[in-house]
Symmetry: C2
Subunit: 406 residues, 2 copies
């Protein structure tokens, strides 16, 4: 049965470099269907739905939609609101009042849970709405997906950042700690490993939330790298924790900020990098120890994007519209079907909603601080074309004259 | 008089995205001259000279030199050593022993001072060496230069970073503080202003070391931006200081006891951003306050480079070789001669050595927290081609149905 009515699209959670590709994908694809009487965008995610804060995307030009698609961060605005059942009922009332028949929410696992509840409300009220969740998250932590739009571009940023940070550290040796986003899943931190080109290149170890962090072991890795290479570059996930699950930033620091949900504030602060650098300085007596927290740059930097990611973020939204127009609800998942090719499937919202995928063991080496070839093979095609390459001089040393004896 | 002998090239100070363009420029240009009997590179700057740690660049292929030229960070390695007269005498002895007749040091104002002393030693010893300083520094703080190689690419990184950070902040509103390198000169921090496209775009203020930082004035700027835009993005130089010249990071750290261990890491890279964010949270009661310290990414990120910067970093080195082969010593300076075109002049080493240029008043607006059109006109051509553009949706708001009365 074909439902005549309006399309509503919204963006939730943290922005990515390609989330607007999905927005453009929804709008441009929806325009092809006669049963679509209008296309609304909700400002700031679900918050814009409960407050009826809509803009009329029907009037956007194709050229501007394409320009916005190439712009990072959520053009409609985003929100951290986590709707409960009552909130979703309010959203549903607004959608019903505006004649919304198709609802698309571009977001992570929390967003897919919102879509699930709204779909249930609609069903219960007997008002048919096709509700489709469109995946995005730089954390790459959605179930059922080979990978998620936004992750490849963020991973590319991390690779380019570690290429440069490692060259910088080679030039002026010491210890360098780069702290990367990803509270529960280490995919993005692990991506740093793909910055390595020559033997001895950093990062010399990666610290993932999938493995327990032990300060002693960490310090001996630093000591070992200093002995071998005279320098040490480390990629550390913001989410590293001890055996009890306590974040290391809490352990090392006496006071930390917590958000409304009781989550420790991990991003937007240099605390973890500074604390780890302090440990290295104090315990190992190394002088030149530097820490950077990549912060918001890694998800919103303008001009660092994977073309594969751009294409897929567009396609996943196009497919979402096609599924919805056929009367279906669900979450669109990316499936890898070749080396390299993908397909898009509609999976039940319950299979994705409020679940978290972490790095599989086969991607992490035995020591727990490196990645496997399986991970390299997994990530390489996602990074896209034109990735910078690093090169070094190959000239032989000149024989000493004055210090001949020494 | 033509001096037959070897060329020695070295790189000093902080790496940049294009410093290897200058290295390649020296090697490739020097090969054209018959009097050059060999080309040596010193590992880790002046330190490699006193320790006779040379590599033989004569044997590098052109293809590899071009590949290295496109790679960020100092391929020969760098150093923070500041040679005194005795150190320079040792360097000179080594150069004499190896038959060096042409010495090129790619670096900032400290490096130019080193070149000055070596040239003096050579003159005093009656051993003729042409000594040429090749400028580079992301701080853009060399006298006699319109701008310095390395700065345009770092400025481009800052612009792209603030484009993204501002879009991120628009999407999830709050206060964002980005801390930028440049202890004495604010050029790089001021570059953030070129991220603005639409009215209301951030950064809403820039804080430069050329102006005195007052916490109260800073907090009212934040309050004002929050009232006007519902959000606030700030670019802050790491070198901001009070009227006595005391760095703000020291000042805030002593008065604000939010530190973890009780020992605030003042040199720790995230400290200033975290302290400023703490002030905003405590004094203004704003919840979502985030700070990023751009750290090493801004000078070494692989894949963010200005093509204008690349070209000039190459040319300035070619000209350095040409001046040296004509028997001259000095520092090569970049002069702007058109809109946009440059010329390269040889200036006395004394005019550049150990001096610091800061932002001229005509580049800073009256309030002291913004840039002038003169600065925009100055910086725009340096950023290079293909700078990302940001775009936003233009659609009109949809009339509310349920909340009609409200």
């Amino acid at each position: 049965m074909v439902l005549a009515g309006k399309v509503l699209v919204a963006q939730g959670g943290g922005p990515t470099a390609v989330i607007n590709q999905s927005l453009a994908g929804v709008v441009l694809e929806a325009r092809r269907f006669a049963q679509v009487s209008g296309i609304y965008g909700a400002r700031h995610g679900v918050r814009g739905i409960v407050s009826e804060d809509f803009c009329d995307l029907t009037q956007e030009t194709t050229a501007n939609l394409e320009a916005v698609a190439a712009t990072p961060s959520s053009a409609l605005g985003s929100t951290r609101d986590k709707p409960d059942a009552a909130y979703c009922r309010d959203m549903f009332r607004v959608m019903q009042a505006h004649g919304i028949r198709y609802f698309f929410y571009i977001g992570g696992n929390d967003s897919s849970d919102t879509v699930r509840i709204v779909a249930e409300e609609a069903r219960a009220a007997g008002h048919e709405i096709s509700c489709v969740h469109i995946p995005k998250t730089i954390d790459n932590d959605l179930m059922m997906n080979d990978h998620t739009p936004g992750f490849p571009s963020a991973a590319r940023f991390i690779v380019q950042a570690f290429m440069g940070a490692d060259l910088d550290n080679r030039s002026l040796p010491g210890v360098y700690v780069g702290v990367v986003m990803g509270r529960h899943a280490g995919f993005l931190t692990a991506a740093a490993a793909l910055a390595q080109c020559y033997p001895g290149d950093g990062p010399h170890a990666v610290y993932l939330p999938e493995r327990i962090f032990r300060t002693d072991a960490f310090l001996s890795v630093v000591q070992d790298a200093m002995a071998r290479h005279g320098r040490c570059v480390l990629a550390v996930s913001e989410g590293i924790h001890d055996e009890s699950g306590t974040p290391i930033v809490t352990k090392l620091a006496s006071s930390v900020e917590r958000d409304a949900h009781g989550n420790v504030q991990l991003s937007g602060t240099g605390a973890l990098a500074d604390l780890l650098c302090g440990e290295i300085r104090d315990k190992l007596g190394i002088k030149r120890v530097r820490g950077d927290t990549f912060g918001y740059l890694q998800r919103s930097f303008a001009g660092c994007v994977s073309d594969v990611d751009q294409r897929e973020a567009r396609e996943v939204a196009e497919r979402a519209v096609q599924f919805a127009m056929a009367g279906q609800s669900g979450s669109v998942a990316i499936e890898r079907v070749g080396e390299y090719a993908v397909n898009y499937r509609l999976v039940p919202l319950e299979a994705v909603a409020a679940k978290t995928r972490t790095m599989p063991d086969e991607f992490i080496d035995e020591g727990g601080t490196g990645v496997t070839d399986a991970f390299r093979r997994y990530l390489t095609p996602l990074l896209g074309s034109g990735l910078p390459q690093t090169h070094r001089l190959r000239s032989a040393a000149v024989e000493k004259i004055l210090a001949k004896g020494g």
